[in-house]
Symmetry: C2
């Protein structure tokens, strides 16, 4: 399992992913699930992945191949973010179908989904959730966040505090607390975390941070949040 | 879907259930999912149900039948709470198997699970989660709560505040806030709610309350909790 979340705000895009991959609870590993594609000032794209590692790695490898050949249609030369989402969707659905073909009855496990977020110069910042079949939905003002993987534990905090007007600083807090709730409740989501920020109209990664299990700031935030929840609980009257 | 939760505390048993039943999102109804079996001072048992309504209703009807015949083995004459759990498990698994037989390929939807909680005079208060196959697990000091149905949204608050030493008043708050988070995030869980309390060594239902959508106390608590979370969020530093 996995937990990845992206926010589409007036101030920019805020993305966070965990790194745990597992084939059964007795076989866990760390794999990056956040991938950045940047031509500074021109375009910045972040892809977050969830699901079958063989599917997501192959999908990314094919897109990388296309990126290195300027004659091919690729996410680095697509004219719009919508076209970027279409390319990711097509590649993901092709790879899923090929892997599923070979897996027969186990085809169900050859599934993966992705969040694609970014901005190119002259266009708006946009964020999409790409389903295993290649179709997708887009974040909007009403629902300015998208999640993939184990989304339930971390959803209540997002529903309560995130709006398009949320600042980048508050957004970082919101995704980290959303991740913190998920880490506590689901073993298949694990540290370290990857976070990155694309501020609006910069077309560049403004901040990129790997947060390890030993990260003192994150630990302090986690403890403070637990305490704040207990304090809030103590004050509620029924 | 459904959300039911039970707490096994030193002070007693606290149980809460929603009432929404649905066959598709376009066909929703209200059905009680909390059933009480009381012989005041002698034994008090509460059963919470989740899953196929045809399975849970038939299971309860058969147990009721047995209760009305003193010669039959029933939850009202079982010698221990463990035996009560066994009777519920056997009845549930029989009914599930019969319904599943008739449903063929759709047998997967003939599933239900239950929480059984109670105390008989001379025994300890105990609480069990009965799986569709009739096997069960029991709440312990380490994990003094059990949930059935849509358990994820409401779990973080329980993990943070509930221990065996929790008071009945705090426990009521905890299960109501746990339900509040679930109601906000999952349409298939709905008001009104049923709550009941069995205080330790009373062998009786000490408090029973139906909480409607218009209940002002619940609404005020829900608003206050949202505000408390937002305030706590504002104070956290990263």
């Amino acid at each position: 399992m996995t937990y990845c979340v992206g926010l589409l705000l007036d101030a920019g895009l805020v993305l966070l992913s965990d790194t745990r991959t597992n084939a059964g609870v007795d076989n866990i590993s760390t794999y990056r699930k956040m991938f950045t594609f940047v031509d500074p000032g021109e375009r910045a794209i972040v892809i977050l992945t969830a699901g079958s590692l063989s599917v997501t790695q192959t999908t990314l490898a094919r897109m990388d191949d296309a990126n290195s050949d300027p004659d091919k249609r690729s996410i680095m030369n697509a004219g719009t973010m919508l076209e970027v989402a279409e390319i990711v969707g097509e590649t993901l659905s092709e790879v899923s179908a090929q892997v599923a073909d070979r897996m027969g009855a186990k085809a169900q496990s050859a599934r993966a989904s992705m969040i694609v977020a970014g901005q190119r110069r002259g266009g708006a910042a946009r964020m999409f959730l790409i389903y295993p079949e290649g179709n997708f939905i887009e974040a909007t003002e009403d629902t300015p966040y998208l999640q993939i993987g184990e989304h339930k534990y971390g959803k209540p905090i997002l529903d309560r505090v995130v709006t398009p007007e949320t600042t980048i600083e508050d957004a970082k807090k919101a995704v980290l607390l959303s991740m913190d709730s998920t880490l506590r409740s689901n073993l298949s989501v694990g540290m370290p975390l990857d976070m990155c920020i694309i501020k609006t109209d910069t077309q560049d990664i403004g901040e990129r941070r790997r947060i390890s299990a030993e990260d003192e700031t994150f630990q302090a935030m986690s403890v403070a949040w637990s305490q704040a929840l207990r304090d809030a609980f103590a004050e509620i009257e029924i």
